[in-house]
Assembly symmetry: C2
DNA sequence: ACTACTTCGTGTACGGCATAAACACGGAAG
DNA sequence: CTTCCGTGTTTATGCCGTACACGAAGTAGT
């Protein structure tokens, strides 16, 4: 359906359909697919199984959804809507950023398949954009330059996704094999026999490096936030620089927020130029 | 072949076979598979195509390799062998760690499919262990505690993999569609029309946040290293703590390296206890 | 030299996947 | 009443990993 002139933007941003009592709907398909993926992971998500779950034939889905890929995009935006309402406390940027990272982490614990979605050209739906805006807001008030704000948020996002990915993989393998990760690695005797020749490895082993491992998400989040904090401090010190449009030195803004242009005129000129290109 | 009592450790750690003039070999299969995956990505790697490339039937591969999954593990260790010889310069930990991260990054640029491999139970082969040991060594000399060393290295590894993953995905989509990432996103007019209502997004947009984006790998690597550095400084200040075995306060070690146990007796006791469990 | 056994490669077949294309049916519009 | 369109179905194509039965060829034992 909807031979899309613009790749399915319309499908993602469609307003809510009034769902008929019976029959298929995009919304119903998406929800069934989310349930299925929650239970079986993304690779267990097949058009057949979604259709079965709804009591229709496989091909019927294609009347409402262009294909599997698009279905996954719809699923993503669907679950993005589960994010809690952004509450506008005036906490510091680090508190807010940490909170936002934990929310993303929570969401991926509820829907582990989110981390398994591949591809860089996913159009954001309304829920996705709202959440992205919310994340950016946590850093936009700092002295970071705009591209740094964006890169930092992307870094946090990739970090959470990477952690979620290893989590879902360990869980899947534990379920499939019935053997816990610790047990499995503990039973690899024939591997450990060969590790004596590696000095650092044995040194860390003898000093209990693997006895009480760090929580990987907590450790990594703290490190990444520390790293961003270091950059923020650095930028705080060299806060006042030059206008991005005309190059004259910038005065400190009375609001304390970072400035980019020296005057409204410059800002508008830059904006027009960008629009033209 | 090789119905493995211990899941293929033997296959990974096999000594080099003398390869007969003609006929199949595990090594030949692995190398052909690496070539194929380099060219077509991991999802383009099929047993049929590997066999075709070698001029044999599909099923012949199964005489030398248990299945696709094991083949991928073999491929991983194969390319791990391409890491440059670790040179023992006495640089600082940060320099060494950065170098090691860049090496891993380089390797993933040569073999993008490495980042696409999923699963947490990959047995390391000899090359993999050597590289892991080398990475750990970069941090083992600092005041970080052993579990922190391990977690930090894991963090770096996941960071590199995550970056490599988005890189390979953009490249694949660019090749498949013939449209560059920038062009594609630039052409999503019908999306941008809807973004006015999001304040931070438009603020950053107007201030040129997307005009000259940060290099994602460089930015992230710097942040993560900064984050680890912050932890190292923190540990430097509280370096001398208590013996992990008996709990008595630790004296500073003459070598300046971090200590874990107060005496050789405690260290040996701890080692014996761990072995027993 | 003859036999039994192992090793290696082949051919066929099964069940799973996404999806293209043609078709069937029911209700609304002309 | 006819036409058309939205919706669901049927059938078929071409991928995939791999189980299984078989054949050919080499090797060891007698």
């Amino acid at each position: 359906m909807t031979r899309d002139p613009d790749d399915g933007v319309e499908l993602l941003w469609r307003e809510k359909e009034h769902e008929p009592r019976r029959g298929l709907t995009t919304g119903r398909i998406v929800r069934a697919a989310v349930e299925l993926a929650d239970a079986e992971g993304l690779e267990g998500l097949s058009m057949r199984k979604v259709a079965d779950r709804l009591g229709f034939t496989t091909m019927s889905l294609y009347r409402h959804v262009p294909g599997r890929e698009q279905l996954i995009e719809l699923m993503l935006d669907e679950v993005m809507g589960e994010h809690p309402r952004p509450q506008e406390g005036e906490a510091g940027w680090r508190t807010r950023l940490e909170a936002v990272a934990r929310q993303a982490w929570e969401l991926r614990r509820r829907h582990p398949w989110m981390a398994e979605v591949r591809g860089t050209r996913h159009l954001p739906g309304p829920n996705g954009v709202a959440h992205y805006d919310h994340m950016l807001a946590a850093l936009a008030g700092t002295s970071l330059r705009p591209p740094e704000v964006i890169a930092a948020i992307a870094l946090i996002g990739r970090f959470v996704d990477a952690e979620a990915l290893v989590l879902v993989e360990t869980q899947r393998e534990e379920r499939r094999s019935g053997v816990s990760e610790q047990e499995w690695w503990g039973a690899r005797e024939s591997l450990y026999e060969r590790l004596d020749r590696y000095p650092t490895l044995t040194h860390l082993w003898e000093n209990g490096g693997w006895d009480h491992p760090e929580d990987s998400f907590e450790f990594g989040l703290a490190r990444v936030l520390d790293g961003i904090e270091a950059l923020v401090h650095q930028r705080d010190e060299t806060r006042y620089e030059i206008c991005q449009e005309c190059g004259t030195p910038l005065e400190p803004a009375p609001s304390g927020r970072p400035r980019v242009y020296c005057s409204r005129a410059c800002r508008q000129r830059a904006y027009r130029n960008r629009k033209g290109s």
